[in-house]
C-alpha cells in the first residue's frame, strides 16, 4: 500500500475547502498554545507563593486572583477556539463528504451499465456510504490535530529551550526513545505479518458474516444452522485470536511509550537536581525547575495524539483507494455534434460484443457478427435459450455498453452519434426486473413523461391493466410504494413499468420479458391494449413463451451469441431447426399438468428412489 499517494489524494480532496481548513488549523494551533496558559498561570501563582514563603501574609492576593482568573479566561479561550476550529473542520468535512457523494453518484450514472452489472449494488453503496464517511474523521479531527500536535510541542519546547536548554534537551531524549520504540515495533516483521493477518481475518469475518445472515433463511430450511454457525464461529475466533496477538505484540512498546510520554517531568528531575547542586541558593533556577515540572506534562496530550495520526490514515486508505477506483471508471463518450434520425428502423450490422476486454482472461464473446433490421411498424421478436444473448442485444440498443465491432444505428444514424439523452428519449424500455421508486404510484408512472397530465397517467395505467388494482388501494394513485408504503407483487410492478413505457410513447419500444410475472389473465389484457398503442412503432420483444410472439413479423432465434435462424413463425416451424425444437418444448411445457395420475404412473421409479 502506497500511503504517500493515498495521503496526497486525500489532501487534494481536502484542498477544496482550503479556507475553512486553514481557519480550522489556525484556531486549533491557537487553542493548543492557549492550553499551556493554565499551566503557566499555576506556575505564576506558585512563583508568587514561593517568593513569599517566609511571610505568607505578604502574598499579593490580587496577583493570585488575577492568575486564577487568567486561567479561567484562558480555558474559555481554549474552548472557544477549539469550538471554532472544530466547527470549521466539521463543516468542511461534511461539505467534502457531501460533494464526494454527489460526484460519485453523478459519475456512476455516466459510466456504461457494464460497470453496474460487474459491480454489486451493495459494494457501490458501501463505497459511497461508508468509505466516504471515514474521510470525515480524517478531515474533521485529524487535520486540525496534526496542526496542534506539531505546533504545540514545537512552541513549548522552544520556550523551554530558551529558559534552560539543558533541561529541555533532556526532555527530547525520552520523547525520541518513545517514538523510536513505536517505530521499531511497527516496522518489525512480526507486526507487519500480524497486520496482514488481521486484514485477512477482518475480511473473512465480514464475508462469512454476510453469508451467515443472507443465507440464514436457506440454512434454516435445511436444518444446518449449526454448521453455518460453526463457519462463522471459526472466523470470529480467528479474528479474536489475531487481534489478541496484535495486542501482545503492541503491548510492551506501547505501554513503554505511554509511560514515558506521561512521565516526561520525571526525566527532568535528576538534571535539575544536578544543576541545582552546582549552585545552591540560586532561587531563580529553582523556580525554572518548578516551571519545567509544571509545564512539561502538557506535552503528553499532543504527543499521544501524534501516535494515533498514523493509524487513522491507515484506516481510511483502503476506502480512499476504492473511491479513487470509482472515479477512474471512464464515462460513456458523448458525440461532439449529435445527429437526430428521421426514421426509426433499428439496424445491427456485424455487431460483435463481449463484456470483458479481449486481453482479459475472462474474455468471452457474447455476440458474434449479429446483423438484423427491425423495421418501424413491425414487431421483431428475439427468442432463444437463456444466456444466448437476447437481453444483451436489447441493452446494447440503449448504449448500456458500446460494442467492440460493428455498428448499431437508428434510422441510419449510428447510436454513438445520437447522444445518450436523445437516444433515451427515442426508446421505451420495459426491463425484466422492474424497479419502482419510493414515491407515489402516479409519480412512478409519470417517470415516463414528466409533463403528462393526471388523465394521461390514468389512460396509460388503464392500457397496462393497472388502473383497476391501483383504484382498489386505499390511497389510489397517491399510494406510496415501498419502505413503509405498499409493496406490489412482481406482476403488478411490471404492469406499472408498462404503463410508464406507454406514457413515454417513444418511437421504439423494447419489451424484455415484460409480462413474465404477470398473471395469465392480465397478460392477455395487456397484449390487447398494447396492440393499439404501438402501431407504427419499432417494437423489439424478448419472450420465452413462444405462443406470445407467433404474430411477429420477424423472429430472430439467438443462440450462443449468433442469430441462427430468422423468419416468421410459420417459416421457422417448417425448418426443423432450433426454433421448431423450442416450439415443441414450449407446447409440451404449456400442456404440462401436475397431477396425481402422473404420480401414480411414475411411482415404481420414484419408490426406488425413496427407498435409498
Amino acid at each position: 500500500m502506497n500511503s504517500r499517494s493515498e495521503l496526497s489524494s486525500l489532501i487534494r480532496i481536502a484542498g477544496e475547502k482550503k479556507g475553512l481548513l486553514l481557519t480550522a488549523g489556525l484556531f486549533s494551533a491557537v487553542s493548543s498554545v492557549l492550553q499551556i496558559a493554565p499551566f503557566l498561570a499555576v506556575y505564576r501563582i506558585i512563583e508568587e507563593l514561593l517568593m513569599h514563603a517566609g511571610d505568607p501574609a505578604g502574598v499579593d492576593k490580587d496577583l493570585i486572583l488575577f492568575w486564577g482568573l487568567a486561567a479561567l479566561v484562558a480555558l474559555i479561550a481554549v474552548l472557544a477556539t477549539l469550538y471554532i476550529s472544530g466547527m470549521c473542520s466539521h463543516i468542511a468535512a461534511f461539505d467534502i463528504l457531501y460533494r464526494l457523494r454527489v460526484r460519485l453518484s453523478e459519475h456512476v450514472a455516466k459510466v456504461p451499465m457494464g460497470y453496474h452489472t460487474r459491480t454489486a449494488t451493495g459494494e457501490l453503496k458501501k463505497i459511497i456510504e461508508i468509505s466516504v464517511e471515514k474521510i470525515e474523521k480524517f478531515i474533521a479531527h485529524q487535520l486540525p490535530d496534526v496542526v496542534s500536535a506539531v505546533i504545540m510541542p514545537l512552541l513549548l519546547l522552544s520556550y523551554l529551550f530558551w529558559l534552560d536548554w539543558r533541561m529541555a534537551l533532556v526532555l527530547l531524549v525520552p520523547i525520541s526513545v518513545a517514538f523510536w520504540l513505536q517505530a521499531r515495533m511497527f516496522a518489525s516483521e512480526a507486526s507487519r505479518q500480524a497486520y496482514r493477518d488481521f486484514q485477512s481475518a477482518v475480511e473473512e469475518m465480514n464475508a462469512t458474516g454476510v453469508e451467515y445472515i443472507r443465507g440464514m433463511p436457506a440454512v434454516k430450511v435445511f436444518g444446518i444452522t449449526a454448521d453455518s454457525f460453526l463457519t462463522f464461529k471459526q472466523a470470529v475466533d480467528r479474528y479474536r485470536d489475531i487481534s489478541l496477538r496484535i495486542t501482545d505484540i503492541c503491548k510492551t512498546s506501547y505501554s513503554l511509550f505511554f509511560v514515558i510520554v506521561v512521565s516526561l517531568f520525571t526525566f527532568v528531575v535528576p538534571v535539575g537536581l544536578l544543576l541545582m547542586s552546582g549552585r545552591p541558593g540560586d532561587q531563580s533556577f529553582a523556580i525554572t525547575f518548578i516551571l519545567f515540572l509544571i509545564v512539561s506534562p502538557s506535552l503528553s496530550v499532543p504527543l499521544l495524539k501524534m501516535l494515533y495520526l498514523g493509524s487513522g490514515l491507515r484506516e481510511i486508505a483502503e476506502g480512499n483507494k476504492r473511491i479513487e477506483a470509482v472515479f477512474a471508471e471512464p464515462v460513456i463518450a458523448e458525440p461532439a455534434a449529435p445527429r437526430i434520425p428521421d426514421t426509426y428502423d433499428v439496424a445491427f450490422e456485424q455487431v460483435s460484443f463481449a463484456y470483458e476486454k479481449e486481453i482479459s482472461k475472462d474474455f468471452k464473446p457474447v455476440l458474434k457478427n449479429v446483423s438484423f433490421l427491425a423495421r418501424a411498424g413491425e414487431m421483431t421478436a428475439l427468442v432463444g435459450p437463456s444466456g444466448g444473448g437476447k437481453s444483451t442485444i436489447a441493452n446494447l440498443l440503449l448504449r448500456f455498453w458500446d460494442v467492440q465491432e460493428g455498428v448499431i444505428s437508428i434510422g441510419g444514424v449510428p447510436i454513438r452519434g445520437i447522444g445518450t439523452e436523445k437516444l433515451m428519449e427515442m426508446v421505451s424500455f420495459v426491463f425484466q426486473d422492474v424497479h419502482l421508486f419510493y414515491d407515489t404510484i402516479e409519480e412512478n408512472i409519470r417517470m415516463g413523461n414528466a409533463a403528462a397530465t393526471k388523465a394521461e397517467v390514468e389512460a396509460a395505467a388503464k392500457a397496462a391493466c393497472c388502473h383497476a388494482f391501483i383504484e382498489k388501494l386505499e390511497h389510489g394513485y397517491e399510494t406510496k410504494i415501498g419502505e413503509g408504503g405498499t409493496y406490489l407483487s412482481g406482476g403488478e410492478a411490471q404492469r406499472i413499468a408498462i404503463a410508464r413505457a406507454l406514457l413515454k410513447n417513444a418511437p421504439i419500444l423494447v419489451l424484455d420479458e415484460a409480462t413474465a410475472y404477470a398473471d395469465a389473465e392480465n397478460e392477455h389484457l395487456i397484449q390487447q391494449a398494447l396492440a393499439e398503442l404501438v402501431k407504427g412503432k419499432t417494437v423489439l420483444i424478448i419472450a420465452h413463451r413462444l405462443s406470445t410472439i407467433r404474430a411477429a413479423e420477424q423472429i430472430l432465434v439467438v443462440n450462443q451469441g449468433e442469430i441462427v435462424e430468422r423468419g416468421t413463425h410459420d417459416e421457422l416451424l417448417g425448418r426443423g431447426g432450433l426454433y421448431e425444437r423450442m416450439w415443441q418444448a414450449h407446447v409440451r411445457a404449456a400442456s404440462w399438468k401436475l397431477a396425481s395420475e402422473e404420480k401414480r404412473a411414475s411411482r415404481p421409479m420414484a419408490a426406488e428412489g425413496g427407498r435409498r
Binding site: 501563582i45 486561567a71 520525571t266 423450442m582 397431477a595
Partner: protein
C-alpha cells in the same frame, strides 16, 4: 451510565470487572508521581521559607530515585490495563457476536423477511466493532475520570475541606448541564440517524434503479432527490456538531472552573491566615491534574453515546423472542387450518378465518389473484410466523407446539428466489442432506435434471458458484433447489410453480424435475397457470385473504365462480401483435 455498561457488555457487566479493576489500579499507581512532585515542591518551598537551611537535595535525590523506580510500577500497571482492556474487548465482542449469531439463527423465518439483511449484518460486524472500541478506549477513560476526582476529593477533604469544596463544587453542575440537555442531544442524534438512514435508502434506490434512471433520462430528477438527502445529512451532521459542542464545552468549562474558584478561595484564606502555604501548593498541583481525565471523557462523550446506541441496537435484537415449541411432527400427516387469521401487521389481516385440510400425499393447489394470500398460506405451514388467531396443525399437533427446526426438517421449499452459497455446486446440493454421498448427490441431480448441465461445466460438481449464485441461470438455480429437496426427502413440499422467464427447454426441464419431486409427498403448490393444475387433488381458491372456493378443477368449473372466471380469462392468451 449503568445502562451504558450493561449494553456494551452484552448484559454481563461482570465481564468488565477485570479492565475496571486494572484501570483502578493504574489510576492509583499514577497518583504516586503527583504526590512525589508535591514532595519536591515542598522541599523547594522549605528552602524558600527558610533560606538559611538551604535546599535538602538529599531528600530530593531520594524522591527522584523513587520516581524512576516507580516508572516500572507504572509500566506494569499500564501494561496490565492495556492487556486487560483489549483482551476483554476482543473476547466480549467475539462472544457477543457469537451469542447474537446463535440467537439470530433461532429466530423465525418471518423475522428474516421483515429485517433488512444488511442491517443485521451491520449489527454482527460494525456495531460490535464499535463495542470493541468503546470497551478498549472509553471504559478505562471513564474509570479514571470518576476515580481520580473522587479519590482526590476524599483525600483533600481531610486536608482542608473549604478548599476541597471550592475545587469540586462546580463538577455536579457540569453533569447537570449534560443531564438537562439530554433530550436535546437525543433529538438531534435521532434526527441525524434519520437523515443518515434516509440518505442510505435514497442511495440504495438510486443505485438499484440506475438502469431505469438512465433509460428514462431521469439522471437529473431522481438525482435531485438523492442530492437533497445528502444535503440534509450534511445539515443534520453539522447541526449535531454545532449544538453538541457548546453543551460539552459548557460542561468542561463548569467542571474546570473549580480550579479558579479554588485559587480565589485559597488567596483569601491564605491572606486571612487560615491556610498554610504548603497546603495551597498541594491544591494547586493537584487541581492542575485532577480534571484532565474528566476532560478526556467529555471530549469523547459523543463517541460514547454512539457506542451505547450501537450496543442498544444489538440488545434489541437479542430481546427478539425465538419461536417456542419442542414437539416433533410425524411425516405424512394431514395439514389442517382451523379458522386461521393472520396479518404481517395485525391490523390488516392477509388471511381471514381460513379453514381447510390437506390430506397427506396429495397435491393441493393455491389459486387466486396476486395479493390474495397464496404465499402466506404456504409460509404459515412452514411456520415463518405464528397465526394471530386459529390453529394450524400437522397430524393434529398445532405447529405452535412444534420445534421449528424439526418442523422444517420435514418441509421442502422450492421457491423462485434460490439462495446459493459460495461453495461448489455439489455442496450446494448436499445442503439438502449434509451426509449424502457423492453418488446420492449425483442421483438427486439426475432426477432434478441438473446432472447434464453440471457435467458440462469445466469442474463439474466441484465448480464454485458465486455469492447469491450469480453464475447460474434462473432455471438452473431452480433445478438445483429441486435437487436439494429431493435429497432432503421431506414429506411436505411447498412449491411455487412460477416458471417466469425460463426458456422453453429450461421450463420443461424444471417441470420434469418437479414431477420427480411431488411423488408420494404432501404437495402445496402456489399456482399461476391454471392449465397446470387441472388434475391436482384439490384446489383452494383464495380471494382477498378469504377462502372463496375449494374443489377439483371440474367441480370448480361447474360452480361458475371465481375459478371458472379466471380459467376463462387465461384461455384467451393469444400473444403480442401490433397489426390486429
Amino acid at each position: 451510565m449503568m445502562n451504558y455498561f450493561y449494553n456494551i457488555s452484552g448484559g454481563d457487566v461482570r465481564g468488565l470487572r477485570a479492565p475496571i479493576a486494572a484501570a483502578l489500579l493504574d489510576g492509583i499507581v499514577k497518583v504516586v508521581p503527583a504526590a512525589l512532585v508535591v514532595d519536591l515542591f515542598n522541599t523547594v518551598y522549605r528552602s524558600f521559607a527558610d533560606p538559611a537551611e538551604g535546599l535538602d537535595t538529599g531528600r530530593m535525590w531520594f524522591v527522584c530515585a523513587f520516581m524512576f523506580v516507580w516508572l516500572a510500577a507504572m509500566y506494569a500497571a499500564y501494561a496490565s490495563l492495556y492487556d486487560k482492556t483489549y483482551r476483554v474487548a476482543y473476547s466480549l465482542a467475539a462472544s457477543g457476536r457469537l451469542r447474537l449469531a446463535d440467537h439470530i439463527r433461532r429466530l423465525s423465518l418471518g423475522f428474516f423477511g421483515r429485517r433488512d439483511p444488511g442491517d443485521l449484518t451491520n449489527l454482527l460486524l460494525s456495531d460490535y466493532a464499535q463495542v470493541e472500541h468503546t470497551i478498549s478506549h472509553n471504559v478505562p477513560q471513564l474509570v479514571s475520570a470518576v476515580m481520580l476526582p473522587a479519590l482526590s476529593l476524599a483525600a483533600l477533604l481531610f486536608v482542608d475541606w473549604r478548599m476541597a469544596l471550592a475545587m469540586f463544587v462546580a463538577v455536579p453542575f457540569g453533569a447537570l448541564l449534560l443531564w438537562a440537555t439530554d433530550t436535546i442531544q437525543a433529538r438531534l442524534s435521532e434526527r441525524h440517524v434519520r437523515a443518515k438512514n434516509e440518505a442510505a435508502s435514497r442511495l440504495q434506490e438510486y443505485l438499484a434503479g440506475i438502469c431505469e434512471i438512465k433509460a428514462h433520462n431521469l439522471g437529473g430528477q431522481r438525482f435531485e432527490r438523492l442530492r437533497l438527502s445528502f444535503d440534509r445529512l450534511r445539515s443534520a451532521s453539522i447541526r449535531l456538531e454545532g449544538v453538541m459542542g457548546p453543551m460539552i464545552m459548557g460542561a468542561m468549562l463548569l467542571t474546570r472552573s473549580g480550579m479558579t474558584l479554588m485559587i480565589g478561595a485559597g488567596s483569601y484564606l491564605l491572606v486571612g491566615g487560615s491556610l498554610s502555604l504548603p497546603v495551597f501548593l498541594l491544591f494547586l498541583l493537584i487541581g492542575n491534574k485532577v480534571f484532565e481525565p474528566l476532560t478526556v471523557v467529555l471530549m469523547n462523550y459523543g463517541e460514547m453515546r454512539y457506542s451505547a446506541y450501537s450496543a442498544q441496537r444489538i440488545m434489541d435484537v437479542r430481546q427478539e423472542a425465538p419461536m417456542r415449541g419442542d414437539a416433533a411432527a410425524e411425516p405424512h400427516r394431514p395439514i389442517a387450518f382451523d379458522r386461521v387469521t393472520f396479518g404481517y401487521d395485525p391490523d390488516s389481516p392477509v388471511l381471514k378465518n381460513v379453514s381447510f385440510t390437506i390430506e397427506p400425499n396429495t397435491i393441493t393447489a393455491l389459486v387466486g389473484p396476486s395479493g390474495s394470500g397464496k404465499s402466506t398460506v404456504a409460509r404459515l405451514i412452514a411456520r415463518f410466523w405464528d397465526a394471530q388467531e386459529g390453529t394450524i396443525a400437522i397430524g393434529g399437533v398445532p405447529v405452535r407446539d412444534l420445534d421449528p427446526e424439526k418442523l422444517l426438517a420435514d418441509v421442502s421449499m422450492v421457491f423462485q428466489d434460490v439462495y446459493l452459497f459460495q461453495d461448489t455446486i455439489g455442496n450446494n446440493i448436499r445442503i439438502g442432506r449434509m451426509n449424502a454421498t457423492q453418488q446420492e448427490v449425483e442421483e438427486a441431480a439426475k432426477r432434478a435434471c441438473c446432472h447434464d448441465f453440471i457435467s458440462r461445466l469445466p469442474q463439474g460438481y466441484d465448480t464454485p458458484v458465486g455469492e447469491g449464485g450469480s453464475t447460474l441461470s434462473g432455471g438452473e438455480k431452480q433445478r438445483i433447489s429441486i435437487a436439494r429437496a429431493l435429497l432432503k426427502n421431506a414429506s411436505i413440499v411447498l412449491l411455487d410453480e412460477a416458471t417466469a422467464s425460463l426458456d422453453p427447454e429450461n421450463e420443461e426441464a424444471v417441470q420434469r424435475a418437479i414431477n420427480e419431486l411431488v411423488v408420494d409427498r404432501t404437495v402445496v403448490l402456489i399456482a399461476h397457470r391454471l392449465k397446470t393444475i387441472q388434475h391436482v387433488d384439490n384446489i383452494l381458491v383464495l380471494d382477498k385473504g378469504e377462502l372463496a372456493e375449494t374443489g377439483t378443477h371440474d367441480e370448480l368449473l361447474a360452480r361458475q365462480g371465481l375459478y371458472a372466471n379466471l380459467w376463462r380469462l387465461q384461455q384467451n392468451t393469444d400473444g403480442w401483435r401490433i397489426k390486429p
